[in-house]
């Protein structure tokens, strides 16, 4: 598995993938990761695995799309899989998520729980994946609380906690009380700022992303998380390879229906039961197709 520049301890995306992979270790299965320091590392890192005859090479993240395509074309007999991007090649399995659906539920929670009617969104880079978080979240908020305003900030980076902290500080100063971040390790700064404020006696919240981030940052700042089961997806495709059922050349889209996205059970600590009941309603409506959540390509 090759991480993007966020690194394996980014407390979200790459880490989740690695935890999934680690669960499969043992019984003759070996797993290993290589961390990428810059764009230039993606190709050599993938090639390291290919040349060591690994049965499956994971590229974690949208950013690696072009490079994975290059390596996959040069090594038609190796198998590859990528998260969050669609690579059109026979030996590549692509996995994407319907982030907009999960973010819609996070938006419902935020819309019902905000006291100031001001909500923030901190995005990493302005790419389709993050846009899906953004649009879904906005739709969720508007569905339950049309008066709420959403301030958005795309920091332009997934690996810059300082930018996340600055963005969060600006928003909280402007009266925002809940921030949803979809920005990888940049979001660590959002949590950091929220913690400082909570310590100073103010009540502010962060909605985490990718993993159940309350486990990492505590329940006093984490309202809930838009969990993206990157780990499940990694396990799914890797198991296919182990069992010899690897398809390749196809794209799996995991949404609420497939349990690929959603809110974690720990949400009930901070979110009242009646709100969670509403969230469940919306979830059913989205799955049945009654509500169409806007998305981005």
């Amino acid at each position: 598995m090759v991480t993007d520049i966020g690194g394996v301890n980014d407390k979200s995306f790459n880490q989740s993938a690695w935890e999934g992979l680690k669960k499969l270790e043992g019984n003759g299965v070996t797993v290993k990761y290589l961390q990428s320091k810059s764009d230039a590392d993606y190709i050599p890192n993938m090639n390291t695995f290919v040349k060591d005859n690994y049965d499956l090479v994971w590229g974690i993240g949208f950013l690696m799309g072009d490079q994975l395509k290059t390596v996959a074309t040069q090594n038609p007999n190796s198998k590859f899989a990528i998260i969050d991007n669609v690579v059109d090649a026979k030996n590549v399995e692509s996995v994407t998520f319907a982030e907009n659906e999960g973010s819609f539920l996070a938006g419902v929670v935020a819309g019902l729980m905000t006291k100031t009617n001001k909500i923030g969104f901190v995005g990493g880079v302005d790419i389709p994946v993050i846009k899906r978080f953004d649009l879904g979240f906005e739709a969720g908020v508007k569905a339950v609380n049309p008066n709420a305003t959403i301030t958005k900030n795309y920091t332009g980076a997934f690996d810059k906690p300082d930018l996340g902290k600055a963005a969060a500080a600006t928003m909280y100063n402007a009266g925002v009380d809940i921030i949803f971040h979809a920005s990888g390790a940049t979001g660590n700064g959002v949590f950091n700022e929220a913690k400082d404020r909570v310590k100073a006696g103010k009540k502010v919240w962060v909605i985490g992303v990718d993993k159940d981030q309350s486990l990492e940052y505590g329940d006093d700042v984490t309202l809930t998380s838009m969990v993206k089961r990157v780990d499940e997806a990694v396990i799914r495709v890797t198991k296919d390879v182990i069992n010899g059922q690897f398809k390749g050349g196809t794209t799996q889209v995991l949404g609420l229906k497939e349990d690929g996205v959603g809110l974690p059970d720990t949400s009930k600590k901070n979110v009242p039961a009646d709100i969670l009941a509403k969230v469940d309603d919306y979830k059913k409506k989205i799955i049945s197709g009654e509500i169409k959540v806007p998305t981005a390509q």
Partner: protein, 360 residues
């Protein structure tokens, strides 16, 4: 060549080797504390650098921009200027090449590729000259201006890529036209698809040009004179201000070329960057390692680039986490660089002693 051999036999080369060894030992101790086997790790490191044609090729790819940014810093240093702006010049050169590479089409390779190289190199050169001009005309310290210009360069590059060259739905520019490519596909094929490109040849030529300009021309004599003592140079009738601009312009060309070949040779596109890639800053360390000597810079870049690329091997082959690897690399660089720093710090003392001896 004889000069090169003498230099290898010289005291400074031996000192460098000892410093590298000390660094490796220090790194080994850190790995032992962390519970990792340093011998396995170092074997993995060297295997990663020399293990296969692919790895050798990729190591060369990693070294190439470091040679050029190292030369950039060293060249300015010879004229008494501290060019911290190689990073910005790198980015502006890169952007110039991307612009020409993406926007122009229908030209034959023999025109298009060299044109992209020249435009990028000149853009980097002018970016450097800007700092030189500010120093010469207004006396603004080049350390300040080059650092600031790094940021201006980063965001200007991002702006240009994001508004004129962006491929929709991506965080990067369109691919450059094939006619602008400076890759060497046939050589890459021989090296297992490692991304080899003309930049390596240009970088080595640049080291030779560096030597010829500084030690074989009147211009170089003046540049070095300004570096040794600007007042004496002025007194001798040299145009110090103009030489400062020349030096920064040339330094900018070197750094710009590094950026040019990253686009034309390696990536074939430019991303919208959250932070600069760091080749310019590494160039400062490389120039220090090479003691501002063009051939020393090539060796310094080889060491720096080799360690950077080989570090992935330590992670893969010996399971050493990336954080510890950075400490190991840091300690090697530290030991090699400190002797440079020590010499640099001692320099004024030597001079003073020289003066006292002269007085007596």
């Amino acid at each position: 060549m004889g000069k090169l051999l003498r230099w290898i036999g010289s005291d400074s080369f031996v000192v460098s080797l000892v410093a590298i060894l000390l660094g490796l030992i220090c790194g080994a101790i850190i790995m032992l504390i962390g519970g990792y086997n340093p011998i396995v790790a170092y074997i993995a490191l060297f295997q990663k650098i020399f293990g296969s044609p692919y790895d050798i090729g990729e190591t060369i790819r990693e070294i190439t921009p470091l040679i050029l940014t190292g030369l950039s810093v060293a060249f300015a240093f010879r004229t008494g200027l501290f060019n911290i702006g190689a990073e910005g010049q790198f980015l502006i050169g890169m952007t110039g090449a991307t612009f020409v590479g993406v926007k122009l089409s229908g030209l034959p390779w023999i025109v298009h590729a060299p044109l992209a190289v020249i435009v990028g190199a000149l853009a980097g050169g002018l970016w450097g000259a800007l700092a030189g001009w500010l120093k010469a005309s207004r006396g603004v310290n080049e350390v300040i201006t080059t650092i600031m210009l790094n940021w201006i360069g980063l965001f200007l590059s991002n702006y240009i890529v994001a508004s004129f060259l962006l491929q929709p739905g991506q965080q990067r520019s369109y691919m450059i036209q094939d006619t602008a490519s400076m890759s060497l596909p046939w050589l890459a094929a021989a090296f297992g698809n490692a991304r080899l490109h003309w930049g390596t040849v240009v970088a080595l030529l640049a080291a030779v040009v560096f030597y010829i300009i500084l030690w074989r021309t009147k211009l170089g004599y003046e540049l070095r004179a300004v570096g040794h003592n600007p007042h004496a140079a002025q007194y001798a009738g040299m145009n110090v201000n103009r030489r400062m601009v020349t030096a920064m312009f040339t330094a900018g060309i070197f750094a710009g070329l590094a950026g040019v070949f990253e686009v034309l040779g390696v990536f074939h596109y430019q991303t919208v960057m959250a932070a600069s890639p760091g080749y310019g800053f590494d160039g400062i360390a490389v120039s220090l390692l090479g003691m501002n000597n063009p051939f020393g810079v090539v060796l310094g870049a080889a060491l720096f680039g080799g360690l950077t690329y080989g570090s992935a091997g330590m992670s893969f082959g010996a399971d050493v986490p990336p954080e510890i690897i950075r400490i190991v690399i840091g300690s090697v660089i530290f030991f090699v660089a400190t002797q440079g720093i020590v010499r640099y710090v001692l320099l004024p003392f030597y001079k003073r002693r020289g003066k006292e001896v002269a007085k007596a």
